[in-house]
């Protein structure tokens, strides 16, 4: 003990003091602050979300995806929409992605198939920090909700096109597109709320 350890202690204290002063002197640089801001958990979630959306759009824009998936999704919507409209007494028929009767016809094209809204929701659930089983349940329930919503939108627009043709454009280009995105966001908030409740409930039971 004695002299050697006292010297060591002194050296250690000096080093600590110089470190503190250097910390005080050097403010974090702009780049470092930007890095810290970007690496915030919520920002990381957003970055992951962007990355997934870019991946989705890269896939979505490919000829293969358009010809083999999007095309059939549109046809499926047209057929299902036509069934619902027939139940409602509109006597419609389909040809590829077109629903028509003697009075009116609509075609389900890109943007009307709800795939992008569905992608936003699925990507957001996928990157949300929770259990995988909860993600699967959320994705499944959300997908069903958004598909049903899009079907409702198609049927609704067809009926508007027949009975209120003057407001068809407003409903088609402004109201329903926005509503679909906002309801996708709401579905996501419901999922987050459900997930937290579910986790809290399990914790309290345990």
């Amino acid at each position: 003990m004695g002299k050697k350890s006292r010297n060591k202690n002194k050296q250690f204290k000096n080093a600590e003091a110089s470190m503190q002063s250097s910390v005080r002197l050097h403010k974090p640089s702009f780049i470092l602050r930007a890095k810290i801001a970007i690496l915030q958990p919520t920002n990381l979630i957003l970055i992951k979300f962007f990355a997934l959306m870019i991946a989705f759009y890269a896939l979505w824009a490919s000829k293969f995806f358009q010809e083999n998936i999007i095309k059939y999704i549109s046809i499926a919507y047209a057929k299902t929409g036509s069934i619902v409209l027939n139940i409602l007494g509109y006597k419609t028929m389909t040809a590829e992605d077109i629903i028509r009767n003697d009075v009116f016809s609509i075609s389900i094209k890109n943007g009307c198939d709800g795939v992008e809204g569905l992608a936003i929701f699925l990507c957001a659930v996928l990157i949300f920090p929770t259990k995988f089983s909860n993600k699967i349940k959320g994705m499944f329930a959300g997908a069903i909700f958004l598909i049903a919503l899009n079907l409702f939108r198609i049927v609704n627009l067809y009926i508007i096109g027949i009975h209120f043709p003057s407001i068809f454009d407003v409903m088609h280009e402004s109201v329903w597109q926005v509503l679909f995105i906002v309801l996708s966001l709401m579905a996501l908030l419901v999922f987050i709320s459900w997930d937290r409740k579910n986790e809290n409930l399990k914790t309290s039971i345990v």
Partner: protein, 220 residues
């Protein structure tokens, strides 16, 4: 601030009311005309001279039955020069050029995104100061996005007729890549999603609210 589903439902109702007011202003009031004039003036300012010798004219679409409000007329100095040279060689006094034209609905390529963003920001659970900062942050980004979208559209159209205009890209692979990219961004849905992402980025980057949202969300 309560973040239960009923709280968000209330926000959704506020958003819907604000958005409906903007729609009413756009369709029944002077909104669409103001947006059309603004889009025309900005597009003319930035793109009336395109590339080395491209010329773009944004005119009002006079066809009232049409869904579009603007007509874009694309020509180039080279195209005009070639037409004049050809006419001179044939001994003609006059000649005609065939510009490339396409219509634009300024509401669906620009106005709708701004309306959506404004309604989102007003309805969001943020302080008035944060909302004002949000406008200062988001609106210029949306403005740049709208201009970028138009730039891609013009570049692609010039490039497709590069032999005629001598403007735009010559590399076929690059033109195809731009074509695929434009196929993604051209739909209003992408613009709306972009507006949503700008809004969410701002909302979550707002430190105070960020902590608040996630702490409360965890307690819901």
């Amino acid at each position: 601030m309560n973040l239960s589903p009923s709280f968000w439902m209330k926000r959704l109702i506020i958003f819907s009311l604000i958005f409906l007011c903007i729609l009413f202003w756009a369709y029944a009031g002077a909104g669409k005309i103001i947006i059309s004039n603004f889009y025309q003036s900005q597009a003319s300012y930035w793109f009336s001279n395109f590339g080395n010798n491209g010329e773009v004219n944004f005119k009002k679409d006079k066809n009232k039955a049409s869904d579009y409000d603007l007509m874009v007329v694309m020509t180039s100095k080279t195209q005009k020069k070639n037409a004049i040279d050809e006419a001179r060689a044939l001994g003609k006094q006059e000649t005609q050029i065939a510009p490339l034209q396409f219509p634009i609905n300024s509401w669906s390529v620009a106005g709708l995104f701004f309306a959506f963003f404004i309604a989102l920001l007003i309805a969001a659970p943020l302080s008035i100061k944060a909302k004002l900062v949000g406008f200062a942050f988001g609106l210029p980004i949306l403005y740049l996005f709208v201009l970028f979208k138009l730039w891609v559209s013009l570049l692609l159209k010039f490039s497709r007729f590069n032999s005629k205009f001598q403007v735009g890209l010559e590399n076929v692979n690059l033109v195809n890549w731009f074509d695929s990219f434009y196929n993604i961004i051209k739909y209003p849905y992408f613009g709306l999603m972009f507006s949503l992402i700008v809004f969410l980025a701002y909302f979550f980057t707002n430190q105070e609210k960020k902590k608040d949202v996630f702490n409360k969300m965890a307690n819901t």
